[in-house]
């Protein structure tokens, strides 16, 4: 009985705003005739409903100015509400690209490529990095047996030859554009001692190991 009353009471606003179907409306009106309490409540709600009806009647017509603002806003976003044939090929291209990247097969292929790159990078981390400096040469020269030298501009060929023979070295490469020579040392020559002698010589501007 209580839930029945609550059910009809809950329908009052819907009865007033016209949301009830024909069948429900007739049933509601029949109950209304028999129930003064419900009638009283309908009257209260009807006042509120009527007041809102006043608002409805005074509603302004759709604003042309606001619609123009809407159109301008849409144009600014690049989505003009007027069909633009010139934009169609780009839209189609965009859709094609979107579709391509949305395809599961391509997505998996991209994942696979990324995995290969990651594996190669991770595997490469264990190897000794190769650094190339100004004094390094493209040729493979055993570091223990090679030094690099830049001679002074005034050094004569005879003086250089004499010095190289004295320390057991021969020219393996050079000169480079910077005047750099690579020297190969005899097998049993102490590289540090040879370097020291080269650096003390007035004929040498620079002497160092090959790295």
């Amino acid at each position: 009985m209580m839930s029945e009353r609550r059910k009809w009471r809950a329908r009052i606003p819907l009865y007033l705003n016209g949301s009830l179907g024909d069948e429900q409306r007739h049933a509601f009106e029949k109950i209304l005739e028999e129930n003064p309490q419900l009638r009283r409540e309908v009257e209260e709600f009807a006042k509120i409903h009527d007041l809102y009806a006043d608002f409805q009647q005074q509603m302004p017509p759709p604003s042309e100015r606001v619609f123009r603002r809407v159109e301008a806003a849409i144009r600014t976003q690049g989505q003009a509400p007027v069909a633009k044939p010139a934009a169609q090929p780009f839209r189609r291209l965009g859709k094609t690209l979107t579709g391509l990247f949305a395809a599961p097969r391509l997505s998996w292929a991209l994942v696979a490529v990324q995995l290969v790159i990651i594996v190669v990078l991770v595997a490469g981390r264990g190897q000794t990095p190769v650094f190339r400096t100004l004094t390094s040469t493209p040729q493979a020269v055993h570091p223990a047996a090679a030094v690099q030298v830049v001679f002074q501009a005034h050094a004569a060929e005879a003086q250089i030859r004499k010095m190289l023979l004295a320390i057991g070295a021969s020219i393996a490469d050079g000169p480079t554009a910077e005047g750099l020579y690579t020297l190969r040392l005899a097998d049993k020559t102490d590289i540090e001692q040879a370097l020291q002698r080269l650096r003390q010589s007035p004929l040498v501007r620079f002497a160092g190991r090959v790295y």
């Binding site: 819907l14 949301s19 007041l51 509603m59 806003a73 989505q79």
Partner: protein
């Protein structure tokens, strides 16, 4: 026109808008503009801000019409967009409810002149009503929504809408009384 036909018309217009049919978009704007504008003005208490949000709302309708699934009325859907954008606009702003009116009511003064029309009386009373009560009354009586539609828009259960509308009526009648207006005279 029956409710079913209104719903179907709104759906048809939104589907055409999704296909970038400008005429359909304009028709949808024409049939919903008044309701959405009213909703925003009531929510934002600022006509200029309401117009800005209105422009944003219909721009969003043009862009997102394709996402409308027709589960609810087109009007409910567009008001949902308007509601979200209004919340965004309100963030960081204070509600502009007239503190003066509230103070007058608290002092037992009657801000209602004899010349006040019924509309003005209701507008004053609604300004004093809490947002949740005012909204539910407006959705049901002004926008003609069903309970499920109002519930969807307010993001509350249907039963909450049902009970809230009765509390709203009670509060509104009490406010009329405080304003010195008998409900029967409204």
């Amino acid at each position: 026109m029956t409710e079913e036909t209104v719903r179907e018309r709104e759906k048809r217009l939104l589907e055409a808008t999704a296909r970038k049919d400008r005429a359909a978009f304009r028709q949808f704007y024409d049939i919903t503009y008044g309701q959405v504008r009213f909703f925003l003005i009531r929510k934002l208490h600022d006509e200029n801000l309401a117009e800005d949000v209105l422009v944003e709302t219909y721009s969003a309708v043009w862009l997102k019409a394709g996402t409308f699934r027709g589960k609810s009325r087109g009007l409910t859907w567009v008001m949902g967009i308007a509601c979200n954008l209004a919340h965004k606009a309100l963030r960081g702003r204070r509600n502009h409810r007239s503190l003066e009116d509230l103070a007058q009511l608290a002092n037992g003064k009657h801000p209602v002149d004899e010349d006040f029309s019924r509309k003005q009386v209701l507008a004053k009373a609604l300004d004093v009503l809490s947002d949740k009560h005012r909204q539910v009354l407006e959705l049901v009586f002004f926008h003609g929504m069903t309970y499920p539609e109002a519930a969807e828009l307010l993001k509350v259960p249907v039963n909450t809408v049902k009970s809230r509308i009765f509390y709203a009526k009670k509060s509104l009648l009490k406010i009329f009384e405080q304003m010195g207006v008998h409900a029967d005279d409204v």
